[in-house]
């Protein structure tokens, strides 16, 4: 609660908070703005793991860069370093010890960025843009998993130019998540595959998509004993499916819910339906946050099957989100996600990353 101090002192060192500008709706939630945000749309956000003291945030963007900030307890964000790719960065993640950042880019490579030396080297190669990158830390091995639009999932020992393993995907990889020992990959054409990562990665199950339209984002959740037990899958059609891998009663336990739709009141006027751009689970409470093209974020309790909160509407879509390791900070990025095509793309429009105190708002509805 005292993470960001009192309401007054959000020194953001640089750009000041827009307290009460005229018609500016870029920060209706009055959250902390991260300084020196990227110059183009933000594609991914990731906080440092608990092994690193403090909180560090990385963001990849369509300006071909990945930036790193230190987020201090009083809310101040200090830009630390930046690395470039030769194409837009689509995904990024941290190693488990917090010393390296892995980035995946449209330039068909993935890089490993050593933060101490501020050097980045290429560690992966695909035939098409690399859409997802995750660090896998298993008891008997560690590697980087990259998913690409070339329909492969590759696993890399960072020291070798050849992958340790290549798994074929039915279609282009659109999103993935890893919580050891489970990995979930959603592909184009409604493909959905779960992998198990013990000993070595292998395909565990192909799952029929619970959604009718294109998959957009996926996030694995854990059960009460901290084991991954299922995932949440979001689509472009304003809907999220909660899917358990081995539920006692699949018909009842798995469900979908609608989100990120305009106020379709009870009139017969059609709703506006927006894509779900990101899903993140609170590391402590197990509740989830979704961000959408409508420029809102929502918090949900999947066990109570209720919505906890919905934000005000930002003037841009929210393209990415994440929680920090202890769940105190919720970061979300406000930038154009191409949901309306190139006509609505304004390169001059500023992109933002906002930080919000998430300790209280994501408490589950029913205390068990």
């Amino acid at each position: 609660m005292s993470l960001f101090g009192s309401t007054s002192g959000f020194g953001t060192g640089g750009t000041s908070m827009f307290g009460s500008t005229t018609a500016d709706n870029h920060n209706p939630m009055k959250d902390i703005e991260v300084t020196s945000p990227p110059d183009d749309s933000i594609s991914c956000l990731a906080f440092s793991p608990p092994t690193l003291p403090g909180n560090f945030l990385i963001a990849g963007s369509w300006a071909n860069d990945v930036r790193c900030w230190e987020v201090q307890d009083n809310g101040q964000t200090i830009p630390k370093a930046q690395q470039m790719h030769t194409g837009p960065v689509l995904d990024g993640c941290w190693s488990d010890d917090g010393s390296k950042v892995f980035t995946a880019s449209c330039d068909k490579t993935a890089k490993m960025w050593d933060l101490n030396s501020n050097q980045a080297i290429q560690i992966a190669q695909h035939d098409a843009p690399v859409k997802t990158i995750h660090w896998i830390k298993a008891p008997n091995y560690s590697c980087v998993m990259t998913g690409s639009w070339d329909k492969t999932l590759k696993f890399w020992d960072t020291r070798s130019p050849t992958p340790m393993m290549t798994l074929q995907l039915p279609e282009r990889c659109y999103c993935a998540d890893v919580v050891h020992p489970m990995a979930a990959v959603a592909t184009a054409e409604r493909g959905l595959i779960v992998y198990q990562l013990e000993n070595q990665p292998s395909e565990f199950r192909r799952i029929e998509s619970p959604l009718k339209h294109q998959h957009r984002c996926v996030a694995i959740f854990k059960d009460k004993v901290n084991k991954p037990t299922g995932f949440a899958l979001g689509s472009i059609e304003g809907r999220v499916a909660i899917h358990y891998i081995n539920p006692p009663n699949p018909a009842k336990d798995n469900f979908t819910f609608k989100c990120h739709r305009s106020n379709g009141t009870n009139t017969s006027a059609p709703q506006d339906i927006y894509a779900v751009n990101g899903i993140a689970f609170h590391p402590v409470h197990g509740t989830l946050a979704t961000v959408g093209s409508d420029g809102r974020f929502s918090f949900w309790d999947k066990d109570a099957r209720t919505k906890l909160k919905t934000s005000e509407q930002l003037d841009q879509p929210i393209s990415a989100c994440c929680f920090n390791h202890n769940g105190n900070i919720f970061a979300y990025a406000s930038s154009y996600d191409w949901s309306k095509g190139h006509e609505f793309y304004n390169p001059q429009k500023k992109n933002y990353i906002f930080l919000r105190n998430a300790a209280e708002e994501l408490k589950p509805r029913n205390k068990k």
Binding site: N27, S43, W62, P88, L90, K108, T109, Q125, D127, A128, P129, W149, D150, P161, Q168, P170, R172, A188, E189, G191, R205, R206, I207, E208, S209, P210, L211, K212, H213, Q214, R216, I236, N249, P250, A251, K252, F257, K258, C259, R261, N263, T265, N266, S268, P270, Q271, I273, A275, W300, R305, T306, K307, K309, T310, E312, W338, S339, G341, H342, Y345
Partner: protein, 457 residues
């Protein structure tokens, strides 16, 4: 006569048998009468039957009906200015915002609105059950009609979905399937916003933005055409759609796949690329001409632009064969991959009252693996299409739609209408387990009559 030997035993209500007078339920009664009937029945054997039926009486309500929640109010805070949460949301925060539409306006048939995505998980079948629980048991005619209804519902839901898609402003370059067990409907293919955006960036770098714009317009037009086609009640479209949905032959993806890797300057030699792009010279937005009703001039138009706009999507466009294999493996359990739910290729839903099947056994074609372990949970399975081996299913309208349990064993019929017992060989392992168990498990009650061998008289 209705006999119940033990609590929980499946009462021997055999097709053609008459129900005892006090529980003779007229078909298709709704409303209070039914409720009253239900109350009367409580405690009787038939009530037991009711409770055992897959929809479990009326207890499972879709989650958006919890706590009397009826209508979505705007959750946006109307109390403008403050950066906090709208106060009106407080009242409704205990329920996930439900669909704003009543089920009859959203998603076609009533079951779609309530059954498909609801937590009850019950499929479109649920509605059928609620109308006439005993239809499956009593009357084969009803079943045939039930199939027709299923088809109708599917078509309706497709039409509704198309309408919504058009009006909602959602992303249009997306695949689509009417229900989760069905394959994707042809004519819609996935392009993610990132892929499109990358294409734009590349074109911008090469100064060929106009190409991009034209390509996108083409794609939009094709999407609209397909949408209109599906919305129309054209008989041939419907037939094509239905056959598509039943056959799990996955549509070969058009050689559309975003360019290939013609100038992959990234040392891709290391990597076994199994499907190197044949269509390297084709620009990424080429759509297979089979899908384009109007314009067939796609290919040449885009072929020329490949020089300019270097398609950097880089998705290797595999030849359609490999695509369908890859895609098919999602849909059909082929050797080595298995899906959680019963896939569409399961067929031969044995229900007791089937008649008129061709006498050929083994409807399962080679690609089907009877998913015995999965069947249990599949009360929710909607119409699982029958395989295209029409020799067996030719007589009945469509074998799909009545897949209560995803029994994948073939049904060989006697010439007589209605069977009293199912041969052991025809039961799936799941059904067998159910019959052999002491009690039926909710949601897993087989619809076939029990095998003679297991009856203990």
């Amino acid at each position: 006569m209705l006999m119940v030997t033990q609590a929980g035993d499946f009462p021997r209500l055999l097709p053609g048998a008459r129900m005892p007078a006090q529980i003779r339920l007229p078909a298709r009664r709704k409303g209070r009468r039914k409720a009253r009937r239900c109350r009367e029945l409580r405690g009787t054997a038939a009530a037991l039957l009711l409770r055992l039926s897959p929809c479990g009486g009326r207890r499972q309500r879709p989650f958006w009906r919890l706590r009397g929640w009826a209508v979505a109010k705007g959750l946006r805070g109307t109390s403008g200015g403050g950066g906090g949460w709208g106060t009106t949301s407080q009242r409704y925060t205990n329920v996930i915002q439900p669909s704003a539409f009543k089920s009859n306006t959203w998603g076609g048939s009533r079951d779609h609105g309530r059954g498909f995505f609801g937590s009850s998980g019950s499929s479109p079948r649920n509605a059928d059950f609620s109308q006439n629980r005993f239809s499956a048991l009593m009357n084969s005619q009803n079943i045939a009609d039930g199939y027709k209804d299923e088809e109708e519902r599917l078509l309706e839901s497709v039409v509704k979905d198309m309408e919504i898609w058009k009006s909602s402003g959602q992303w249009i370059f997306s695949c689509y399937s009417p229900t989760k067990e069905k394959p994707n409907i042809s004519g819609f293919h996935d392009i993610s916003p990132e892929e499109l955006r990358l294409e734009y960036f590349n074109c911008r770098a090469n100064n060929t933005v106009q190409n991009y714009v034209n390509s996108v317009q083409q794609l939009v037009k094709q999407w609209k055409n397909r949408l209109v086609q599906l919305k129309s009640s054209n008989a041939s479209t419907k037939a094509a759609l239905l056959s598509e949905l039943k056959n799990t032959v996955s549509q070969p993806l058009p050689s559309f796949g975003f360019g290939g890797q013609q100038t992959s300057s990234f040392g891709s030699s290391n990597f076994p690329v199994n499907s190197s792009s044949n269509s390297a010279s084709n620009f990424s937005f080429k759509i297979s001409s089979s899908l384009v009703s109007a314009s067939s001039g796609n290919t040449p138009a885009f072929g020329s632009s490949s020089a300019g706009c270097n398609p950097a999507f880089g998705v290797t466009s595999s030849p359609s064969v490999s695509h369908s294999v890859g895609f098919g493996s999602l849909v059909a359990p082929s050797a080595g991959s298995f899906s959680l739910k019963a896939s569409e290729t399961t067929n031969g839903f044995g229900t007791s009252a089937f008649s008129g099947f061709g006498s050929s056994a083994a409807v399962n074609t080679s690609s089907t693996t009877p998913l015995t372990n999965v069947g249990a949970s599949n009360v929710a399975v909607a119409a699982s299409p029958s395989h295209s081996s029409s020799t067996v299913f030719g007589q009945t309208a469509s074998a799909s739609g009545h897949n209560i349990t995803s029994a994948s064993s073939a049904v060989t019929s006697n010439a007589t209408s209605g069977k009293l017992f199912t041969p052991m060989s025809e039961l799936s392992a799941e059904e067998l387990k159910q019959f052999e168990a002491k009690k039926f498990t909710m949601g897993k009650i087989p619809l076939k009559p029990p095998p003679l061998e297991l009856l203990q008289i």
